[in-house]
Amino acid sequence: MRVLGIETSCDETAAAVVGGDRRILSNVVLSQLDEHRPYGGVVPEIAARSHLDHIGGLVARALREAGTGYEDLDGVAATAGPGLIGGVMVGLMTGKAIALVRKLPFVAVNHMEAHALTPRLTDGIEFPYLALLVSGGHCMLLAVRGPGGYRRYGSTVDDAVGEAFDKTAKMIGLGYPGGPALEEAARTGDPARFDLPRPMLGRPGCDFSFSGLKTAVRRTLDALPAGPLDPKTASDLAASFQQAVADVLADRAARAIARFREEFPGGSTLVVAGGVAANRHLRAALEKTAQSNGMRFVAPPLALCTDNAAMVAWAGIERLGAGLTDSLDAPARPRWPLDETAAEPRG
C-alpha cells in the first residue's frame, strides 16, 4: 500500500509518499517563511499563490524521491481543512485530480487528525491514547479511539497556544516566526524572574486559556523602562512566558490523564503533536507529567510535528484501512472540528 499525501493548509507546501508498513518513502516540505516574514504573519493570499506555484513540482519530486510512479499508488490523501481556505483548495484540487485520472480512492484529510495519528506512523502505538494537539491554530486534548473516533476533553477558550507564542514573541521583539525565536531566547533566560499568571491552573475540566497570559506579558513590558529591551530581560521574559505555558499544559494534561484512565483503562500513552510540540521545553515538561502519572510519553520527531505531508499520507492510510474514503465533491473546510458531534471548538 502506497499513498500520496498533500498538505497546503497554512504556510508550508508539502507532498509525501508513505507505505502501509509505516515507511516514509519521501517527505518534501517547502516553507514559505521568507515570503511572509515582512508582514510578521501568514498572509492568506500570498500563501495561496505560493502553494499553486509550487504544488506541481513538489508532488513530482515526492514521487521521484520515493521511486514511485502514479501507477504504483493505492490512494491519494489531501488536507481538506481546517486551515486557510485558499491554500487548502490548491492541495485539495490537486489530490482530487490525481485520484480521478488514476482511478484511485481519495481521502479528504482533517489536518488535526493527521497530527493526532502521527505517533502511530512514527512509533506504532496502539489505540486508544490521549493526545495533546498544540499548534498555531489549535490547542486541544483528545482521547483517540481510532480513525474518525475522537472525544474532546478540552480546548482553548481564546487563543491557540502557538498564537500566544507568536504574539508574545512579537511583543518582546523576537522576530518571526515567533515560536522558535521565543524558544531560542528562553534557553538562556531565568524563568522565575517575571511572575506571570497560569490561566486555568487547578480549575476543573481540561480547557485552556492564553489571552490573560498574553495581557500579563504586555503589562510587564509596559512596566519596564521605555526603549528596546536588553537581551537579558528579553530572554528572562521569554523563559518566564514559556514556563507559564508549560505549567498550564502540564496541569491540563494531568487532568485529562485522570479522565482518560477512567474512560479507557486499557490506554496508557500520552501523545503530544502539532507544531508547538517541536518546542523542547514543553516536550520535557509534558514528558515529566506523563511519567509521574504512569503514562508512556510519545512525541513525534520535530520534523513530523510541524506541518508536513507524510502525516497526511499516513492519515489517508489509516482511513483507507478503516474503509473511509471521500467522494470527489468533498468540500474544503476552513473550520472542521475533529469530534463532529461536539460543539465547534474555539481556536
Binding site: 515582512p38 508582514y39 510578521g40 498572509v43 493570499e45 500570498i46 495561496a48 499563490r49 502553494h51 499553486l52 504544488i55 506541481g56 508532488v59 513530482a60 502514479y70 481556505i85 485558499g86 483548495m89 490548491v90 492541495g91 485539495l92 484540487m93 490537486t94 489530490g95 482530487k96 485530480a97 490525481i98 480521478l100 485520472v101 488514476r102 467522494s327 470527489l328 465533491d329 468533498a330 468540500p331 474544503a332
Partner: protein, 233 residues
C-alpha cells in the same frame, strides 16, 4: 486532437471535451461558489459521456486546457491546480488561456474592435481590446489584459466605435457612452465557456502541442491585498 477544457475562473463552472474538431460533451453551471466541489464530478460526467470518442478516458486525451484568469483568485487557482494535476497524472501537457480571450472568441463578428470587460468584483474591471479580424473565433489582441477603472477607459481606447462584451460590460459601456463614444453591446456570451476554450485551444495548438510539463501560470492582474506593517509595530 482530443482535449479536455475546464473553466472555474468566474461565476460559472464548465467542462467540455473536444475530439475530431467538435465538442463531444459539455457541462456547465452558474455558481458564485462551490467550484471546488462541482468540478471533478463534472469532469467525470463529461468523460463518461465521451466514451465513443475517448473509450480509454484520460489515456485518449492529447491536451488539457484551462482558463488561467483574470477572475476570482480562488476560482483561478481551483482550475489551474486541477488542470496541472490532471495533466501530470495523465502524462499530457496543459495550457492556460485567458478568460478575456475566451470571451472574445465567443462573440459574433461585428466589424469593429472588441473590448471584453469582466467583472472584477471591485471598482475596476478586467479588460482587453481585440482587433476585428477576418475570423472572430481567433481573437487578435490589441492590448495586454489589464485591470482598469471604467472612467479611465475612454482615454485608453482608439477612436471610433467599439463592440463590448463580458459581465463587466455594464460599467464599461456606461463610462464610454458618458464620454460620447459609440458602443455596440454584444449579448449572450458574457462569461468564459469551456466549449469555447476547447475550440480556441484546439485551433492554437493543433499539430504542435506544447511540451510536456510546460508550466501553467495564473493571471491575477492584481497584487495580494496586503500592506506592510508600520515600522516597529
Amino acid at each position: 486532437m482530443k482535449l479536455l477544457a475546464i473553466d472555474t475562473a468566474t461565476s460559472a463552472c464548465s467542462v467540455a471535451l473536444l475530439a475530431g474538431g467538435r465538442i463531444v460533451a459539455e457541462r456547465s453551471a452558474d455558481m458564485q461558489r462551490g467550484h471546488a466541489e462541482a468540478l471533478m464530478p463534472m469532469v467525470a460526467e463529461v468523460l463518461a459521456a465521451s466514451l465513443s470518442a475517448c473509450p480509454r478516458g484520460f489515456a485518449d486525451l492529447d491536451l488539457i486546457a484551462v482558463t488561467a484568469g483574470p477572475g476570482a483568485f480562488t476560482g483561478v487557482r481551483i482550475g489551474l491546480a486541477a488542470a496541472g494535476a490532471m495533466a501530470a497524472a495523465a502524462g499530457i501537457p496543459a495550457v492556460g488561456l485567458t478568460t478575456l480571450e475566451v470571451v472574445a472568441a465567443a462573440q459574433p463578428p461585428s466589424g469593429r474592435p472588441l473590448l471584453v470587460a469582466l467583472d472584477a468584483k471591485r471598482a475596476d474591471v478586467y479588460c482587453q481590446l481585440f482587433g476585428a479580424g477576418p475570423d472572430s473565433s481567433i481573437p487578435a489582441p490589441l492590448t495586454e489584459p489589464q485591470a482598469i477603472l471604467p472612467a479611465d477607459l475612454p482615454a485608453r481606447l482608439p477612436a471610433g466605435p467599439v463592440a463590448l462584451a463580458g459581465d463587466g460590460a455594464g460599467p464599461a459601456a456606461a463610462a464610454l457612452r458618458a464620454a460620447g463614444r459609440e458602443v455596440l453591446r454584444l449579448q449572450g456570451h458574457d462569461r468564459p465557456e469551456a466549449a469555447v476554450l476547447a475550440r480556441l485551444a484546439a485551433a492554437r495548438w493543433q499539430g504542435a502541442p506544447p511540451p510536456l510539463g510546460s508550466p501553467l501560470r495564473p493571471l491575477y492582474l492584481r497584487a495580494p491585498d496586503v500592506s506592510l506593517p508600520a515600522r516597529g509595530a
